[in-house]
């Protein structure tokens, strides 16, 4: 049996990678990839806590939550990438440092 803390450590590492990617990359698609990593890390935690919680056969909340998050991530990726393509069409760049129309 794999202990719960191992899953948590893997999820923590993936989340930190995603956080770094979302904060430090200049390309908008790379930022989106970082966000996907963070969503996956959160999902690992949810399912791990479901498996190690009380009565995983009776209470399926953790798994149901994870399924909903997967669906949400699909919607998020579709809208995000559509926005990126629209911005690219308008400005010919997706470097988030150059997209400063709204900065004062």
């Amino acid at each position: 049996m794999v202990p719960l803390s191992w899953y948590l450590m893997l999820a923590a590492f993936l989340f930190s990678c995603g956080l770094y990617g979302a904060l430090a990359r200049r390309n908008a698609i790379a930022m989106l990839m970082g966000i996907e990593l963070m969503l996956n890390a959160a999902n690992i935690n949810l399912v791990a806590f479901w498996r190690h919680g009380v009565g995983p056969m009776e209470d399926l909340t953790g798994q149901a939550f994870a399924v909903l998050i997967i669906g949400l991530a699909a919607a998020e990726a579709a809208v995000g990438l559509a926005l990126i393509i629209a911005v690219y069409r308008e400005r010919r760049t997706i470097d988030v440092d150059e997209l400063d129309l709204l900065s004062g």
């Binding site: 049996m1 794999v2 202990p3 719960l4 803390s5 899953y7 948590l8 450590m9 893997l10 590492f13 993936l14 989340f15 930190s16 990678c17 956080l19 770094y20 990617g21 904060l23 430090a24 200049r26 390309n27 698609i29 790379a30 989106l32 990839m33 970082g34 996907e36 990593l37 996956n40 999902n43 690992i44 399912v47 791990a48 479901w50 498996r51 190690h52 009565g55 995983p56 056969m57 399926l60 149901a64 399924v67 909903l68 997967i70 669906g71 949400l72 991530a73 699909a74 919607a75 990726a77 579709a78 809208v79 990438l81 559509a82 926005l83 990126i84 393509i85 629209a86 690219y88 988030v96």
Partner: protein
């Protein structure tokens, strides 16, 4: 098992050994996503990470989630990202750094965050695994029943959200 510095390491069981392999693959691929300079390599590493996370779900005896992970993430999201990379043809290969000017602060913050989470995960006395899951169709059937009874509102709202998001995505990305 005795390590050179006198550190006592418990011998992993076979399941733990395989989990370590999968977790290492996932972690290395996840790191490659954020440090690779070539955006397309990042996308490929992201696909590998999605596969690794699906493997982790198999270890957690959530087979339905593992299959959904491969279907949705590898089949749809990785494809979308690959197409977006090809459509935008980002001119960032090698010429300039793929990182913005706050990468130092970001890496420090992410590293400290990781250390904090790690300390938390190790220090908290988590309960041992609960009862054995009878890993067969019964669990998937129960999950399906939950979605049309307890979580029916969340399920319907998610369906509506997905529909609206996809219609909106088409509207946004369409050539005017």
């Amino acid at each position: 098992m005795q390590l050179p510095l006198g550190i006592e390491v418990p011998i992993p069981t076979f399941e733990q050994f395989v989990f370590i392999q999968v977790a290492l693959l996932t972690a290395v691929a996840g790191l490659a996503v954020v440090i690779s300079r070539n955006l397309f390599h990042s996308a490929l590493a992201l696909t590998l990470t999605f596969f690794g996370v699906a493997g982790v779900y198999v270890f957690l005896e959530a087979e339905f989630l593992a299959v959904s992970q491969v279907l949705v993430y590898v089949g749809a999201i990785a494809m979308l990202i690959a197409f977006a990379i090809m459509l935008t043809r980002s001119m960032m290969y090698g010429r300039t750094s793929p990182l913005n000017n706050q990468w130092g602060k970001s890496s420090l913050f992410a590293f400290l965050f990781f250390i904090g989470l790690l300390a938390f995960a190790r220090a908290t006395p988590w309960p041992a695994a609960g009862e054995e899951v009878v890993a067969d169709e019964a669990l998937i059937g129960a999950l399906g029943r939950e979605f049309v009874t307890t979580y029916v509102i969340a399920f319907e709202v998610l369906g509506l959200l997905l529909l609206l998001a996809l219609v909106g995505a088409v509207m946004l990305a369409r050539d005017r």
